[in-house]
Symmetry: C2
Subunit: 245 residues, 2 copies
Amino acid sequence: MVSDSINPNISVDCVVFGYDFKHLNVLLVERTLIGVNNETIFSDYSLAGNHIYEDEDIDGAASRILEDLTGFKKVYLKQFQSFAHPDRLKKIRDQKWLRSIGYNSQNRVITVGYYALLNCKEVTIHPGNRIVKWTPVEKVKKLAFDHNEILSNALDDLRLKMRTSPIGYELLPKKFTLSQLQKLYEVIYDTRIDKRNFRKKIAKLNYIVPLNEKQKGVAHKPAQLYMYSQEVFEITKREFFDITI
Amino acid sequence: MVSDSINPNISVDCVVFGYDFKHLNVLLVERTLIGVNNETIFSDYSLAGNHIYEDEDIDGAASRILEDLTGFKKVYLKQFQSFAHPDRLKKIRDQKWLRSIGYNSQNRVITVGYYALLNCKEVTIHPGNRIVKWTPVEKVKKLAFDHNEILSNALDDLRLKMRTSPIGYELLPKKFTLSQLQKLYEVIYDTRIDKRNFRKKIAKLNYIVPLNEKQKGVAHKPAQLYMYSQEVFEITKREFFDITI
DNA sequence: ACAAAAGTGTTCTAGATACACCCATGA
DNA sequence: TCATGGGTGTATCTAGAACACTTTTGT
């Protein structure tokens, strides 16, 4: 399928967002530079990213990188922005790192940013030989390259996109409760929502479908489970005109 | 400032939108391939685009391309999507064209898509030695390369963006009437809006400021002129939570 | 029996929609 | 004086906001 020649000028970076019912997390990959005497020169984190193959589409490259790192395929993945500042890989530690892994550190590299949405509890990460960790987005420290900027723009785009399309469900398990959905909005927009008003609003959306099933094994009244139906959404959505600002 | 070495793998394409109070137009550049006997092999249109210089940022490259073509600088310009399909330049006529202008037609090229917003009546295009024309977006025929796809995605992004940020004003002159603004929304969303309701809505937006000035020289009651104030918008905007779908 | 989250209704306010006539100007 | 687009108000309906108690389960 894919040739073994990579394009040295084009890479893809994936911001992998995962929701665990408490925080919005991002999946970070450890980057540790070891010196000749086996000492650690530095250790920090980066987003999941890599160069693309010459005969590979970028959407395909993004899924490949995600599958490589996590072991699963069917994940919501959206291209949101490209980053191409000539100096984006020119910080000293980034240059050292690039040379250590055998790259020509003088190459101009444009990276295409994607974000992935998934539910932490529904998936298991198979990181191969890399060390990865989930970090709540508000606790992320200084990352490799321009990855803080990439993360921050991904978050902005996610917040915007969630207001105009039903993508929040990608961060939840197939079957979810209304409280889990409400908490998701509260976490992403850092706000509080009234439970009764929220439920009235959701009740009007016919693409959020109640199932004949309740939560089990919880130490309180078990909640009704719901699913999101893409099919119902497609059929019932309508164009609207609104100057929301 | 800018070195003379271009990056053969990275280009920028600008979708230049212009509003003329009747249509949303896009600026197209003629592409004519002339044979050895001076016969026209084909003639069609493309978006405004070019490769970037090695030491140039892509935002800078986009403004440069826009300035080259139109002769003006201060234009709203937004990156919206990158296009990187391996076969995007592989159609026969595109290959012929690339060879005729001295490019290696086998190069893999990723292009970063931008759109520009301006008012046709407020600007004069200085296209240099190129032939350009404004075309209403709904009348655009088959374009060069993957430019129809780029245009169509730019339009989708513009329609989405206009719902959540005040960018429509970039398509109007500095001073505009409420009817011109209403018509803009009607054209872009292909819809009809009730005049009284529209005006009530606008009246609530304090960043659309009435001026002490009216239209002149029109064969009917002259309209009140308004301006958009970015400054007022920045100060009065507030975050909002909304599941609009 | 207690702790924990689920689930539910009413009142008030604000915004959306539908709709028709008079006004100021240039030709 | 006519043609053209500018400008205005009311009544109805729908959606948003504020607010507190009972229910069901596991421990």
